[in-house]
């Protein structure tokens, strides 16, 4: 199968370039990651991240034929050749398909991604009804792969100021948790022309999320809560 891969090694290359490969794939190679692993056996200088190979760790997000996705759950047979592989857009490239995720995680950390409940805790579990728990569905499953955030034009323009879809999805995950006691502070934290309101509902995020999550919906729910508390 034919591949065209973004290459950049800061120690050698003045600038990035695309390299063509022809990789013999077997019937048993189902996913794109299988082929990339074979490619690396042919040319060990290609660097990329990978771990779980089943779409749960979020390591191998990359831009595949123009769209962000996880190589390990992208069906090889459904890809048009040459398969063009690039690093995730909008983040600095460290090398080849490896991007610097610092800004992405900074934004995630900025929403205080943990349940805050400083009341005295019971000896056993805090009670939460199945309905309250159901509010977390479609939110807690995020694997922090950054496919969404790096496909969002608003994030490209303001990576330091706009939290981005992944971070905002998580912001809502904690707002939605019946155990969390600091919704007001969480909303204050986002009440800002950039942090939340740079989202113009362009929907790229929903389109690319490999886990089928909907950051855009979560964002609109946060916006609703903001409106509600001002009236």
């Amino acid at each position: 199968m034919k591949f065209r891969v973004y290459r950049y090694n800061p120690e050698k290359d003045a600038k990035p370039y695309m390299q063509d490969y022809d990789v013999p794939v077997a019937d048993t190679d189902r996913m794109l990651l299988d082929a990339i692993v074979k490619l690396k056996a042919l040319d060990d200088t290609l660097s990329f991240r990978r771990s779980c190979r089943e779409g749960v760790c979020g390591s191998d997000a990359m831009n595949i034929n123009g769209k962000n996705g996880l190589a390990c759950i992208t069906n090889l047979r459904e890809l048009k050749e040459p398969v063009v592989l690039r690093p995730l857009p909008g983040l600095p490239v460290i090398r080849d398909l490896i991007v610097d995720m610092t800004q992405f995680f900074k934004q995630y950390h900025s929403i205080k991604p943990y349940v805050v409940d400083d009341r005295p805790l019971p000896e056993k579990e805090r009670k939460q009804s199945p309905t309250e728990r159901a509010e977390l569905e479609g939110l807690y499953e995020c694997i922090l792969c950054a496919c969404c955030t790096t496909s969002c034009p608003s994030f490209w323009w303001n990576p330091d100021k706009f939290v981005g879809p992944a971070g905002l999805l998580q912001a809502y995950r904690f707002i939605a948790d019946s155990r969390d006691q600091v919704t007001a502070e969480r909303l204050d934290n986002l009440e800002d022309p950039y942090r939340l309101f740079r989202c113009h509902t362009i929907m790229n995020c929903v389109d690319v999320c490999p886990k089928g999550l909907n950051p855009s919906l979560a964002i609109s729910k946060i916006k609703e809560l903001m409106v509600k508390r001002t009236v």
Partner: protein
């Protein structure tokens, strides 16, 4: 060893935790909470650790669904271990399990709930009531079939709240040990820059996870390469019970990706080519929820006797259509996703093709239930190695003995991660002291491993050696083992291990050189592979996950003992199993049936 003249940076911490999976991050919470200066190293971003893939649940006798207690959990674990587990550690784990789960809830874990708001629990293989005499008991706390993901993220989030200092994408290379045998930290490589650094520490906690990548067919991630085991073995500390590898009954045929036992917990079952629910024959009481070693062997038996499914009769089928779309979508959504993606079947309509697949390493770095690494010294078989701890899958405490029960690993991470952290905190508070002086050659071993790869050409390719290793282990050390296969395996793996220490890479650059990382990981994998087959060949009995066709029975007279493998000379030794619990009566070895 060649002497490498190299200046190397150094930083000092109270404690260094190597690994940011469930065990490492649980330990880190304890350490950071106590205000110690801690560094947590991980070769991947913490939430990418393989704990993320755990599906089914966390075992703890909360009794939320029906009567249950830790003593029954303890019995099941001892029996599940085929009596090779140490009963002091097992008692400790089962008693602490409920507290560990409640703490995780307090950290914000999105557990599934019952109508009354308490934690939902599901049945799992080998977990029964009334000391194995009663019905299966619902003991596994879960977040749908994404328990590990929810748990790992929750632990990371708690660490963020506490301001834990993570060193992300740093590869630990080797331990630093002085002439007294004290461990004084590690040498690690920053992937982004390619530079090595010394992490000096009063306590070093290894939490590097499993090494399932020694097998060709495995549920484990690429990063599960047994680095902690390699580090320990090179430092002269033995590896314990390495012959015991769990084959999970339900890996997707051909892909290896796991289908949780929770599927059978929720009512799914296995059938052979005749559509027969064969587990009724092998385990009349527990049926499909018998312990994993039993189910895996039964499946292999069916396949061997020609009742496998598919054109090659090489797998069996896991049926869950009868559970209905609603249950499947609410309790097993990721399983459905996996089946569609990796097996091309929608389990709402069709059964999933499955085969026994390497899943979990019961053996590992010898440790006690405080998390201290132990080794033989002056006649004491279990003398703590000063400054060194191990927790999680890399450790052998041993709570899992010859076979681990499902849900007992996640709880092991929580209980022993916490215990190790706690012991470090207490020790440092009890005996405040300055750092010990580092030996002059502290970084030599690590730097010479790097130097070997920096120079060198014409050696073998990493991918080739790795593939030979995986094929050899799969063939010679699988579900059923024989003396002849194992003996051949030993000589082949010895040769492959030697080759693994002599590979060359084309990429000589520094920045994010993943070829170099894979070469270093392979050195560790090959050590684990050798420990495995040498230990398996020597053990002339069948127990738990080790099933030998030439020694079909368990032999408590000669083999109720832990194996210790030393890398130096590939030598074996043994130590006693601790049959004495902390407060209750010992469970004496009995014949094991389900």
């Amino acid at each position: 060893m060649s002497v490498v003249k190299h200046s190397i940076a150094k930083r000092s911490f109270d404690a260094v935790v190597v690994g940011a999976g469930g065990a490492g991050m649980r330990a880190a919470i304890q350490l950071a909470e106590a205000g110690l200066k801690v560094a947590v190293l991980s070769k991947v971003f913490p939430t990418r650790s393989h704990t993320v893939a755990a599906q089914g649940g966390i075992g703890a006798a909360l009794g939320n669904m029906e009567e249950d207690n830790w003593h029954w959990h303890m019995f099941d674990t001892v029996k599940g271990s085929d009596y090779l587990g140490d009963q002091d550690a097992i008692e400790f784990m089962c008693r602490m399990a409920p507290q560990a789960v409640y703490e995780l809830e307090h950290f914000g874990m999105p557990f599934d709930r019952n109508a009354d708001g308490t934690l939902y629990q599901r049945p799992f293989g080998g977990h029964l009531s009334q000391f194995g005499q009663g019905k299966p008991v619902r003991r596994s706390c879960a977040a749908a079939d994404r328990t590990g993901h929810a748990m790992l993220h929750t632990l990371y989030q708690r660490n963020v709240r506490q301001g834990t200092h993570f060193f992300v994408e740093w590869l630990a290379l080797d331990l630093i040990r002085d002439q007294h045998g004290d461990v004084l930290g590690v040498v690690a490589l920053e992937m982004e820059t390619g530079e090595a650094m010394i992490f000096q520490a009063k306590a070093t906690v290894l939490a590097t996870g499993g090494a399932g990548r020694i097998f060709e067919s495995s549920t484990n991630a690429f990063i599960n390469t047994g680095d902690g085991l390699g580090m320990v073995a090179r430092a002269g500390i033995p590896l314990e019970d390495m012959e015991f590898w769990q084959f999970h009954p339900t890996g997707v045929a051909g892909a290896g990706v796991l289908i949780t036992e929770g599927v059978r917990g929720e009512g799914g079952y296995l059938v052979n080519a005749n559509g027969e629910r064969f587990m009724e024959r092998y385990a009349p009481n527990a049926k499909d929820l018998a312990s994993r070693d039993v189910v895996s062997r039964s499946m292999d038996q069916e396949i061997k006797e020609g009742r496998g499914c598919g054109p090659h009769k090489d797998h069996v089928l896991l049926k869950l259509e009868h559970l209905g779309p609603e249950l499947i979508n609410s309790k097993l959504p990721s399983i459905r996703e996996i089946a569609i993606k990796f097996a091309n079947v929608d389990p709402i309509k069709e059964p999933i093709p499955v085969v026994p697949t390497c899943h979990y390493m019961m053996g590992g770095i010898p440790a006690n239930y405080y998390g201290q690494v132990v080794a033989q010294k002056d006649g004491n078989a279990n003398a703590p190695v000063p400054g060194l701890y191990a927790a999680g899958e890399c450790a052998c405490v041993s709570v899992h003995g010859a076979n681990r029960l499902g849900t007992n690993s996640l709880v092991d991470l929580l209980v022993f991660g916490r215990a190790a952290g706690e012991h470090v905190v207490e020790t440092i508070k009890r005996e405040p002291r300055a750092h010990k002086e580092l030996p002059a050659n502290a970084a030599d071993r690590a730097l010479s491993r790097l130097a070997r790869l920096e120079g060198g050409s014409g050696g073998e390719q990493v991918a080739q050696v790795a593939s030979d290793m995986r094929k050899t282990i799969q063939k010679h050390c699988g579900v059923f083992r024989t003396g002849t296969l194992l003996a051949e395996g030993v000589s082949k793996i010895r040769e492959i291990n030697a080759r693994a220490q002599r590979t060359t890479i084309a990429d000589k650059s520094k920045v994010f050189n993943t070829a170099r990382i894979e070469a270093l990981e392979l050195e560790n994998l090959a050590i684990v592979a050798e420990a495995t087959v040498v230990s398996a060949e020597a053990r002339k009995e069948s127990r738990g996950a080790q099933a030998r066709e030439d020694f079909k029975d368990r032999d408590d007279t000669n083999w109720l003992k832990h194996t210790l493998w030393y890398m130096q000379g590939s030598r074996l030794d043994y130590k006693e199993v601790n049959l004495k619990p902390l407060s209750v009566e010992s469970f004496k070895p009995k014949a094991r049936s389900y």
